[in-house]
Assembly symmetry: C2
Homo-oligomer: 405 residues x 2
């Protein structure tokens, strides 16, 4: 009998109040999670809040929600946060190491990992190691080190509840089907702001255009990843680990309206889809509240506004990030780690107008062929690969900028 | 905590071979069910086959599948069947009473009720009374006497597994969600061959046109019901009883491609849909095999053939059966029984070219206002109502034919 992601054996009781730590509470997912938590005080309490460097918002959130502890990763801001929270019974920590240490607090039931990028890996591993249930919004954790992360989760009997809307959709469709083998899944993709455009057009696009997502309101990194289709590539790799799939079981279909969030096809040929208006609060709430669906006032879908749902094949020739991701998905090892690190640098450079939209794929491809392939990496190998790739990617960008100057 | 249809507590073990009785094995659902059973000999065996009057096919099926017993409802055909099966260890019975009696056989695990119309009520009640699990393709049983049938099922700890593709879709979406309240459901409808047509057109249509369903290959009665939208009206009433819904929780949406088979919306706003090519074998197999999804070779859905799924509001002004059904749904009592009996006579008369397509609604409306309303009918009341309605309906037709002559 096949079990998806440990079969979700240890389901939380429906009547227990969950104590939540939010890794990255000041970002897009973090702030929306706090809205969800605030509307269900009978179900959730906030135990820990963390932020990379947004001290002002972290202070504001802490005064409002009175967590047990807060962490500001940027040590230069420690004094500001400490002083502001002085008169409250809130522990204040700073630095990357504290992010991981605080996850071990006994009073935490569930950790929502809502930080962006490779930075989420270490604290997520720390949380799993401490036996905390995980609501995973940081897809890079599974992209980079899925084998290692899922093995540790299995060992520690930790469930990983997806927060990404596509993976939440798959997960919702799998409820009650843990013993029914998946034949394949379709991850839906809006296609982003540049759907249907050709390479000539993409050469000219600026960050302002790429940051305008047609359906979803998200952070800058993931919005660029959506425009470049890298987001879908990363999601394919994430799905492989979350649902124990082989690469050929994972398909992508462009669905510009973003109403069907993803689809599972079972071995009897039946398909189940999860649908609704694009609103990240729903998958966040589902992950935090699972197995209960909590009452919500989120706007409801209405067929009167959607007389047609359309579908088309993705264009991985123009959007080369998708093709590169599939190579990483199939080859595995440290290749997804290289893909991810190169992409993080590429997106940051694109947002600084240092490289063009299509050059992001050039940079990623260059790194994927330059960095040494490791078939079965250890955690140290991942950290080393990530580090090496970032150096390589920055060199590539520097060289390019030098030529221009 | 809300439980749908008893919460499906007593789930059959995944490894037990189920012994199946098919009420109506020679019809469209019956023959497809036998295909499903034949492809899973490790999961199912055939215990009983019954037919109304198709002795030839019943004999053929019996010789092939060697059931323990067969029933031919038409007593005139008893001799033919008895003689043909003489040399086999197969018990042969005849008559309506035998249909109900045979349901009590100890060796039956599950009864698939695949007869058409009011005729399914008595044997279904007999099967529930004997504690048999029910795979329900005979929607009229719940339309006519839903309150009585579901109360008896609850008392006998019998689960009713829907076979109708729409209700199977809802049921598939509810797997693993038994404790999560439904906000509403959408029953999808193809709209049939006359979607978008006006009353002037409908006055002219003949049975040959009405029998051409664009997507589904079904029996004559249900195909006419699909063309007239009565099928969707009956399904709304069926859904009310199967899933314990109030009338305002049940919506209908026209979806001409028949790919999304129905949709559930939960109280968090999330919607789940079940999808696939239109093929009755899938819901039949799901009902027989629940909770296991058995491997199948049914053709798979391919987005390449469906770039657009469309939706529109139903037109209950032109297709007045839908409006009449909603009255019956809301008012309850014996009104759905009147609606159903009048419709059975109307469809039969339309198939004999005795009345026109739109006159079916006239006849049903006439019966709904003429027959005495009973708020809390007993089984005898239902039988009496059905009888009275048929007399009234036949008089109406006779009168009309007399005028023409």
């Amino acid at each position: 009998m096949q079990k998806y992601n440990l079969g979700y054996i240890c389901q939380p009781s429906a009547n227990v109040k969950k104590s939540i730590a939010i890794l990255g509470s000041t970002g897009s997912i973090g702030t929306q999670a706090l809205e969800v938590i605030a509307s269900h005080p009978e179900k959730f309490s906030v135990e820990v809040l963390t932020s990379n460097s947004n001290a002002d918002l972290l202070i504001e959130q802490s005064i409002l929600l009175q967590p047990n502890a807060v962490v500001i990763a940027d040590e230069k801001k420690y004094h500001q946060v400490k002083t502001a929270l002085e008169k409250f019974p809130i522990k204040v920590f700073a630095g990357d190491a504290a992010l991981s240490q605080v996850m071990e607090m006994e009073t935490i039931d569930m950790v929502l990992t809502a930080v962006v990028g490779f930075a989420g890996l270490k604290p997520t591993l720390a949380a799993i190691n401490a036996g905390k249930q995980i609501a995973l919004a940081n897809k890079e954790t599974l992209v980079v080190a899925g084998e290692l992360v899922t093995a540790l989760a299995k060992e520690k009997a930790v469930n990983i509840y997806p927060v990404d809307s596509e993976h939440s959709a798959i997960f919702q469709c799998l409820a009650g089907e843990w013993n029914n083998p998946i034949e394949k899944i379709y991850l839906t993709a809006s296609g982003g702001p540049f759907r249907g455009k050709d390479k000539a057009f993409l050469t000219t696009v600026k960050k302002e255009q790429a940051l305008k997502h047609p359906n979803w309101d998200m952070g800058a990194k993931i919005t660029i990843d959506s425009a470049s289709m890298m987001n879908k590539g990363l999601e394919m790799i994430e799905a492989k680990w979350l649902f124990h799939l082989t690469p050929d079981q994972i398909d992508v279909i462009i669905h510009p309206q973003s109403i069907i969030h993803s689809i599972v096809q079972f071995r009897d040929g039946s398909m189940k889809a999860q649908m609704g208006l694009p609103d990240m609060k729903l998958p966040i709430q589902y992950a935090l509240g699972y197995p209960d669906r909590l009452k919500s006032t989120f706007p409801r879908f209405d067929f009167a506004n959607y007389s047609s749902l359309t579908f088309e094949k993705p264009d991985s020739t123009t959007f080369r990030n998708l093709a590169l991701s599939i190579v990483a998905l199939q080859k595995g090892g440290n290749l997804p780690c290289i893909l991810n690190a190169a992409n993080e640098i590429a997106v940051a450079a694109f947002l600084k107008d240092q490289i063009g939209f299509l050059e992001m794929s050039d940079l990623i491809e260059e790194c994927m062929s330059a960095i040494k392939f490791i078939e079965h990496p250890t955690l140290e190998d991942y950290i080393h690969t990530d580090h090496e790739t970032r150096i390589k990617a920055k060199e590539w960008i520097e060289k390019k900028l030098t030529v221009i100057r």
